[in-house]
């Protein structure tokens, strides 16, 4: 990571992530907020790549951009009177800033005192996908199956709720 090219690209993606996340919060237009999330998710995926977590980066794009963001956009678009500013005019700048600074400071302090900023000694070797598949199917097989049952139940529930009701026709 000492290569200056990587450093420049890293700061580029970090800037994209932070700026778009700030835009999501500060813009008054809900649609812009939702579209700006695309860049946030994309930037976070790029940051995962810098941590050698390619698989998680791609999963981030698939799940958050392909699933959650599209659902969010549909939800926002099908809401009535979306074009008028939906955000409240009431602003509590001073308590908000205090809360924000306090929380971030507390988190950073905890992180700093408990973990320390240690660069990882070992670099990842070989295919991460194989490791993930192996661990999922051996050590973490019970949580994996439980999550799949939970998702299946959610899917069936969603299909049942969205079903065309014959009796009310």
């Amino acid at each position: 990571m000492s290569n200056p090219t990587y450093t420049v690209i890293f700061y580029l993606f970090a800037a994209i992530t932070v700026c778009s996340a700030a835009f999501v919060v500060f813009t008054r237009n809900v649609i812009y907020s939702a579209f700006s999330l695309l860049f946030t998710f994309f930037g976070v995926a790029a940051l995962y790549v810098f941590l050698s977590a390619d698989f998680i980066a791609v999963t981030q794009v698939v799940v958050y951009v392909g699933g959650i963001l599209v659902l969010l956009l549909f939800g926002v678009m099908f809401t009535n009177s979306i074009m008028q500013g939906q955000k409240s005019e009431v602003l509590h700048i001073i308590p908000g800033t205090l809360l924000l600074v306090g929380m971030i400071g507390a988190m950073l302090y905890t992180f700093y005192t408990t973990h320390g900023w240690m660069p990882s000694e070992t670099t990842l070797q070989g295919s991460i996908v194989e490791r993930i598949g192996f661990e999922t199917m051996s050590r973490y097989v019970l949580p994996f199956e439980m999550v799949s049952i939970l998702l299946l139940a959610a899917l069936i529930g969603a299909a049942f709720l969205a079903r065309f009701d014959k009796s009310s026709k």
Binding site: F35, L38, F42, V61, V65, L73
Partner: protein
């Protein structure tokens, strides 16, 4: 061949000019130039000629001999057109939409091995990346459809997104069958595992008796993912004018079309890589006539993958003039009640074949 793998792209990646990584930019520019050239020649001119011949017409004949210069004329016309943004459109999203759309279709080219010696990024999650990155295209379509502030555009965008998101599921499961046969998600490795002296007999399409099923499912699903006929209901010209790009003109329209041709080549290249051996030569060695050895190498590899891709694009154009358009409910029926169950069946059968029959 092992030591020459990715030789070109690695040489380019190490190329610096004045301390700037110019080689990395060139690697990214090569697929871009390729998309532009192929859309110009084969995409626009080829599609017009092919559709004309299918309908027993002549197609463009006026500009140049056999109308060869027709595309150049079209491009000049598009460049000169006034850049119209409708007054009631959401200006920002209207302008950004085609850009996101094109970036989404272009990003997958990073992991396509164009030759044994050239690949943008030899990721170990290449195939997963290629099917996942389409999600960005979806957001671009929504931005274009919403930004146009036109009900036909919004209908087209919503239809297109529903279609792409649904057909991603059978497409991904079908490709998973190919990944199971290879045991890796690296596109370059998937291709290398299909090379051998018998040419086409090593391709995964002929690997197991069930392999034709995921191949067919992915081909059908990929047609829907790139909004081609018979799944072109997002732009259904008889109902929705032109779908999500109704309001676009000039260069923005050209960018949307470039994105469409880019995705067409992308899905054709993915199906060729996973099931038809990518850059491997399909010709077998016949005794002393070593056809396979003669037609293997970095340049031949580029030739084979591009011709395989072009063949599937030809099939896509052929189907466009053969099959009528589906209705929305038929589209969803086909996806959820036909393709997805058959994809699961082929998944289980491929798994059994891979585990018990070596």
């Amino acid at each position: 061949m092992g030591n020459s793998l990715n030789a070109w792209s690695e040489a380019l990646a190490g190329f610096y000019l004045f301390g700037l990584p110019l080689g990395l930019v060139i690697i990214a520019a090569i697929p871009l130039v390729f998309i532009a050239l192929y859309s110009l020649t084969y995409g626009v001119y080829g599609e017009r000629k092919i559709s004309a011949f299918m309908q027993d017409r002549l197609g463009p004949m006026e500009v140049g001999k056999w109308g060869i210069l027709q595309t150049i004329a079209d491009i000049l016309k598009l460049l000169q057109k006034e850049d119209i943004v409708p007054t009631s459109a959401d200006k920002f999203l209207f302008v950004v939409g085609p850009g996101i759309l094109f970036v989404g279709s272009f990003l997958a080219f990073a992991v396509l091995p164009f030759s044994p010696a050239f690949i943008g990024a030899s990721l170990n999650v290449g195939l997963f990346y290629a099917i996942g990155i389409v999600a960005i295209e979806v957001v671009g379509i929504l931005a274009a459809g919403w930004g146009s502030n036109n009900k036909w555009s919004l209908y087209g965008a919503v239809r297109s997104v529903a279609q792409i998101v649904s057909y991603e599921i059978p497409a991904a499961i079908a490709l998973l069958c190919g990944a199971m046969m290879a045991g890796t998600l690296d596109m370059q490795k998937i291709t290398m595992l299909q090379s051998g002296t018998y040419g086409f007999a090593h391709f995964y399409l002929f690997h197991s008796p069930i392999a034709w099923l995921p191949f067919l499912i992915y081909f059908i699903a990929s047609l829907a993912e790139v909004n081609r006929a018979p799944f072109d209901i997002p732009e259904a010209e008889s109902e929705l004018v032109a779908g999500y790009f109704t309001e676009y003109s000039g260069m923005k329209f050209a960018v949307i079309f470039l994105a469409e041709y880019g995705s067409m080549f992308m899905v054709s290249a993915i199906i060729s890589i996973v099931f038809l051996g990518g850059w491997n030569s399909p010709l077998p060695n016949l005794g002393a006539i070593a056809l396979n050895d003669w037609t293997t190498g970095p340049v031949w590899g580029a030739f084979w993958i591009i011709s395989k891709g072009f063949f599937f694009i030809f099939v896509q154009m052929w189907l466009r003039w053969t099959l009528p358009r589906l209705r929305v409910d038929q589209l969803m029926y086909l996806c959820w009640k036909v393709l997805t169950p058959f994809a699961f069946v082929s998944f289980v059968l491929t798994a059994i074949w891979e585990i018990y029959i070596p």
